[in-house]
Amino acid sequence: MYRYVIKRLLFLIPTIFGVTFIIYAIMSITPGDPGRAILGVNAPQADVDAYNKMLGYDLPFIQKYFNYMKNMIVHRDFGVSYFTKQSVFNEVLPRFMLTIRLALIGVGLATLMGVPLGIDAAVNQYSLRDTIPSLMAFFIAAIPGFVLGMVLLYIFALKLNLLPSYGIGSVQHYIMPALAISIPPAAQNMRFTKSSMLEAIRQDYVRTARAKGAPERTVIWKHALRNALLPVVTQIGMSLGLLIAGTVVVEKLFSIPGIGSLIVDRIAFKDEPVIIAGTILISVAFTVVMLFVDIAYAYIDPRIKAKYTRK
């Protein structure tokens, strides 16, 4: 088991190298430069060039890539922002933590809302407890996240004046962003859990349980559910990974200083150190989450566990 985990963690290394390379490559073919962006449209070209030289921006991208990797690995130095001249690490980390917090809240809520509704819908198929949540989930799937956020803003902030419309600081500040970020995956969780549960109920071992004389309650909640939840766990884990990257829109909408909006803002300035550090953090977080999901799955499904533990 440990061998498997180590192998997966080792894959992080080529991932980091690969991601950094891709970003530097993209930055190098993208128009614009920090000097121009910071000094402005009217600044003389000479000044811009000098500025870029000072930042070290004008070096060929392979060299920038090597320097960056070297600094990161050997000196654990993530460099300095082209834009703010602050330590990248200090700038990026708190924003990253905020995004993680938001993503975790989002996934937590999405699971708490979606999974029970899905089970309920499967067990009471074709009744109202099935058709109403299913219909709602269906419509929610057609609403983009930012539209949902805007509607929430409209209702709760503008019309009812109940919640603050931007920033963070108090619990109220988190409510709308959390809802905006959790409702779409909640709808997905509900549909997925329902179909997984329906699939499990159809299985032969459920029939065996009934033939043993088990009450229907036990058949559903012990025998079927345990099997149905396996793929649901994977689904939830994956959505967490996606969510970490996908908070950008909500951050922009509610003016939350997270990592997504930081990266997006800095792209225009070609602030490579920040962009790369941010992207690496997100990619690593994503990979780690997927690894956790696989390990968790191996733990709860004895068939998979057997594959990874040797007798």
Binding site: Q203, D204, Y205, R207, T208, A209, R210, A211, K212, G213, A214, P215, E216, H223, R226, N227, L230, I300, D301, P302, R303, A306
Partner: protein, 328 residues
Amino acid sequence: MEMVNEKSNELILEIKDLKVIYKTDLETVEAINDIELKIYKGKTLGLVGETGAGKTTTALSILRLLPSNTGRILKGQINFNGHNLLDYDESMMQAVRGNLISMVFQDPMTSLNPVFPVGEQIAEAIRLHNTEIDEEEVQRRVDDTLSLVGILPSRKVEYPHQFSGGMKQRVVIAMALCLEPQLLIADEPTTALDVTIQAQVLAMISDLRNRLGTSMLMITHDLGIVAQTCDDVAVMYAGEIIESGTVRDIFLGEQHHPYTVGLFNSIPDLKSKAKRLKPIPGLMPDPTNLPKGCKFAERCEHKMPICIEQRPNVTTFGTHIIRCHLFG
């Protein structure tokens, strides 16, 4: 072993006038049409027929395990030790299932829950019907049951996927017999297994049955298994019992329903010089649209005009019963 006087045998299960349908939005499937079955205490009744004849439906009806949204028992009686099971409500049926009447299904690969250890699955059956006994006793019984079917008790913590097909089926049988039910329903228990394993499992079932005195309903399409394990036989076709009797009546008797004759002729015989198999031509009638007369008439070489018009009545020759106009 033969009883001197069949009449002194007690009936453990008797089915009368049973009619079962499956009803969906699109169509109605007439699965079982007025059947009678008798299973005697301590004996094995073999229920033979092609796929789709209604054998599994019969078994599921006894335990009331038909799919709840489509299966309907329209009429009839299923008398178990004199009590009509169709009068029982769900909680009473739960007390019966696994405890008084057990069932073993066809496919061992999927009958066991993959996420629980096998010992736990057997223990569950024990606990369900014995709420007072303590855990130690439960585990002891699990061990005993596993030994009975030839599995090391130490393997009770293992998961189903760690067992081979034959061993899985033994676990299933262990689960079915751990509470020493009065009636065991085995629905093609060895069809999914290799021939050699098949022999082992059948021998084990017979042995257990003799030891525990369990009555059995053995559902199969294999006449060889019937000869090996059954005392009585009923032949089922298109939801009807078209012939029944003791195993002697069916295998050695003089007269038979044409379908039974066809069944026996379809078995390849090593010694025969025939070059081709002799299957019964045609197919079973569409259960959503059954003919009104004899259901076998279309495929029967002895077809007469009355066969198409009228459903045949039963003719009784002692223990041997045939439903056919040829004898009526």
